[in-house]
Symmetry: none
Subunit: 137 residues, 4 copies
DNA sequence: GTGGTCTAGACCACT
DNA sequence: GTGGTCTAGACCACA
């Protein structure tokens, strides 16, 4: 399994798990319909209390990323989420703000930042971008 | 001043402040001997409880990053370790990864994301970018 | 406080709390900006574990119904939530379906159901409807 | 058959089934001596695990609402308590309250809500309403 | 076996 | 004082 957790991070564990599953889905490591590890199993593997895993799964379900079937298991959702365009943009703008703040503190040159973005953006596109093709971990 | 805080982040506010001052020191944005804003003043500027600022300053002082002279102020002490270009790039790439992951789940297509980045990037540049003193909160 | 809980209900406690706070907001019992009881205080008053209260509050916050300020408290949100029109309609249709199913099993006559709806709808309108004016409990 | 189940509800499925059969019996929709669908058949029709159906039937039998004759089938036993008109109205009003609460938070205006109700109500009537046998799931 | 809810109790971040 | 996170462990609903 691809989930690893840093218990000393200031980022809550359940949030780290959410982020990694989202990321796995975005890169195609996890495909729509795939079964996720059970709460208990993932708990055992990464040594985190099942409640914490459950909380992460519940939040992912609320966001429409995964779907649970009672007594059966948890699966990567295949139906796309619905979200308003304003919300979409707001979420992305928030991350961009974080990016620019970091760049400022690191005294990143504008051109340099632009170049790195371009570089990573191209990588992302070739991996399928919003199409989410399969990519090996 | 260069401190920007996201009150809704999972990262504690005092930690965000520490991180940003460390970054500023590491890149030379802040030079040894430079005077920092007073707890009270910074508190006012970023709308955060003075206790929280004080806690950040205490931790920075404990780590030897800054020094407080009673009745005079707080100053950046001897130059701390400079950050390498690789490390800088890693930090930016981490945020970009988050951006692309989020974009995937928000069903951004490539052009759309590119456009939003371009748009925000231009705004940032015109507000000073990495060269400027103050960036709007 | 207006929250009362039936521990024997099949509806989870945290869900009962959510429902009642939503209802209080909708009827004007709680006005935007009002401070809610603290997690611990409400916990004490209704004899439910603080974790359960906290879970209800967190879910309400995710839905934009309430806002929390760290170390200060929890308040009824004053900014309206944003939601897509499809989602709006879907949520309402789900409840309507429940209504019709119940009406069917109770052998409610069509006209009778329509009359009750009309009656309650008029009451609701006179209480302010979507404007949410103040109403005594 | 008249059983409709919402798998995502917080109310356990077996409980929804019990409730609906009780309602049907209380209003005369089901008469004493009527044969119920077999566990297997109902399971197939509503897409629920037979164990869950069986559990509902067991509980109904324990309460004396139904009787099982081995190898023959399950039948509604002697007429249970009839539900009063007030109780019927209360049940409907409870759902309507939920509807209005939700409408408030979704920022429905009165006309909009009325329109949606009218629309769904008409659909329901044309599908049989309280008179019909089967309502689409 | 699966996920969901709840409790008791601890510790942290923040005002 | 406030809310947020985590653990340990129990019991329930469902397949």
């Amino acid at each position: 399994m691809f989930v690893h957790v840093d218990a000393n991070s200031h980022v809550p564990i359940y949030h780290q798990i959410i982020q990694q599953i989202k990321s796995a889905a975005a890169t195609g490591l996890l495909a729509p319909g795939d079964k996720l590890l059970s709460v208990r199993e993932l708990s055992r593997q990464i040594g985190i209390n099942p409640n914490t895993i459950a909380r992460a799964y519940q939040e992912l379900e609320r966001d429409g990323i995964i779907e649970t079937i009672r007594g059966v298991g948890t699966f990567l959702s295949s139906t796309p989420i619905r979200i308003s365009n304003e919300d979409k943009k707001e979420r992305v703008k928030k991350i961009l703000k974080e990016l620019f703040t970091e760049a400022y503190h690191l005294q990143y040159d504008e051109d340099e930042l632009y170049r790195v973005f371009q570089e990573e953006f191209d990588k992302w596109k070739s991996h399928g971008g919003s199409e989410g093709k399969d990519v090996e971990s």
